[in-house]
Every structure is written in structure tokens, then in C-alpha cells.
Symmetry: C2
Subunit: 205 residues, 2 copies
Amino acid sequence: MTPGLLVVVSGPAGVGKGSVVRKILEYAENIVLSVSATSRPPRVNEVDGVNYFFKTREEFEAMIKNNELLEWVEYCGNYYGTPKEWVCREVEKGHVVILEIEVDGAVNVRRLFPDCVLCFVLPPDYNELEKRLRGRGTETDESIKARLARAVEEFKLIDRYDYLILNDTVENAADRLLSIIKSERMKTSRNQSIIDKFKNINRSE
Amino acid sequence: MTPGLLVVVSGPAGVGKGSVVRKILEYAENIVLSVSATSRPPRVNEVDGVNYFFKTREEFEAMIKNNELLEWVEYCGNYYGTPKEWVCREVEKGHVVILEIEVDGAVNVRRLFPDCVLCFVLPPDYNELEKRLRGRGTETDESIKARLARAVEEFKLIDRYDYLILNDTVENAADRLLSIIKSERMKTSRNQSIIDKFKNINRSE
């Protein structure tokens, strides 16, 4: 009774979605993080197929052309994207694939993989988001302002998402995400084989 | 971030849905059991508005006529039904109302209260259902056969439900129902006020 699932997690910079995703991976339950493809060269210790699927620019551009990516971006001169085939294979195995991407990408994934679940991680309020960004202590004032301005743009698209996850603490937010995963796997629409089993009972009296 | 919710729980006789509902009421979280209206006279210790809303036949028939019931049945010469107004008031307060009713009633509730969540409790398999019915030790062989035949009819309508809850143990099933409740309350479609709050952030730089 455990169908596979593709779960997209988005949210503004500083909201802590990375921590929430890392926490939920500890819970196991067949939850895996999506492995991206990239044209960036591997760094020391990075393993192909674990950290990334490493591709040449030409290979990556062929993947784009052949619709082999659920979403992709070009960032600092390198391509990054999510290989559709890998995700489909994991979901078919009954695994939950978590994909942490930005709002534009999420909309694309929904188009190419309609059965996915879109989750948006929210801070308790906007001031808290600014506090968390400043709390990192690694960003310039300018960078923080740019990220906050971007957050406001992202908030405009939250009704494209299925679920809103409040991140007051990482543990609470991870519990919330786990409830969503458990609940989505119980959806009638994801359990046709169980429906068939119970619909086709033949009572021989 | 806790919108109210109407949760309908159905399932065949013997599946243990009553135990699952009782268990989830222990978890609190603003979960209440729906109070039915009935034309049956109160028994000793039964309190109006707690166990039932007690009505005369004439009063009940007026409620039917005025569309004041989400669903109703006549059983052994008495009417039983769910008063729409009471449910709406509880949901508006932010409470989760649990309504344990049969399949026909559930379909009616969906029609009159489209935002409700329909859950169907399933046994691990059909043989287990028979075992549980026989295990009660209170039913005749004839009654058990009738209930099993009815279960087969009910299974034919499970795709009208939103969620399938496996009842292997009462604790597991109650946990599953709780995940559904938590998850449904995080749905974007149930949280317009939060969306508005984040969409209308006015950054003064």
C-alpha cells in the first residue's frame, strides 16, 4: 500500500527548506533525494550518479532537446536539471523522490509529471525570513535585499502549490512534510491495484 | 494555520472504523465527533446536543424538507441524520468534524459539502473482515453473511473516496487518519488567508 511519489519542495532563500529536506531523509520510509544532471565538472569526492549525473554541455543540450529533463536552468555558465527517466524509475520502484527546486522549475515539473505533489515552505512571517537570512552571517546586505525581493516574487506564485508547510522549527516542518507524504500515498487515485482487488472480490456462497 | 475540516469515515461492518474514530478523538487537536439528529426518543443518560439532537418526527421531516441535513436515513422506524448547520459552525470555528456514515450518505455529503474529505477504512483483506465479524461473537451466521455481502457492494464505490486507510491495527489506522487530517489542513486551497498575507507583502526599501 505504498505507491511511489514525486514531491517538489520550494520556498524562498533562508526559509530553511534544505534543512527540512535533510531531516526528512533521516526518516527513511523509502525517501530519496533527486539526483540532478549538470554540465559542471565534478569536484573532488563527487561521484557520478550520487552527487550529480555529470554530462558535457553537448550531452546536456541533447537532453534538453529530447525532453529528457523535468526542469533545467543555466546558472553561472553551467546547466543543472532533473532527469525525467531517473525520477520515473524511482517512483515506479515505490520510492518517494524529493526534488528541491525553484518556483519556475516546479511549474514545469507539474506540467511534465502531473501526479507530483508541490509543497511550498513558508516562514512564520516575512520579518522572520529577513532575520534568518541575516542570521546566516555569510551574505552582504545587498545580497539579502535581492533575496528578499525575490521572495516577494515567489510568494505571488504560492497558489500554484498543493500544500503550504510552515517552518517554525525544522522538526515540525519535517513532520508536516512527512504527513503530506503519508497522506498522498493513501490517495484513492494512487491505489488502483488495491481498488481492483477489493472491487473484484468474488464471493462463492 | 489550522482551517476547519469535515472528515467522513466509512467502511464495511467489522473493519473497526468505530475504534479508529474513538482513538483519533483521544489525540485532541480540535477533533470532534459529529452529533446526529434523530427522531428516536432519548434513552436514560442521553443528553440533547451531546449524544444526539432529539427531534420529533415532524421536526425531523421539516429538516429534510428544508435541506437542513447533509445526509439522513430511516432505520427501524426512526430517522437519523447530520445537521448541516452544526457541522458548518464547527468547521468555521477551525474544528475537525468526524462523521462516521455509510457509503450512500458519504456521496450525499460530498454533494452538499464539496470541501469534505472522504476516507474509506479497509481491512488487510477480505478474509480478515470475515474473521473480525466472527470474532465479535455476537452475530448469527446469517447476519455475518449479510454484512459480508453488503461489504462487497460497498467496495464497488471506494473510488468515490479520497483516501484509503488500511486498518491493520487501530493505532496504525488512527495515525494514518491523523496524517490525512494534518495534510488536508495544509492544502493551499484551504489557506487563502495565508496566501493573501504573503502575496500582499509591501516591501518599503
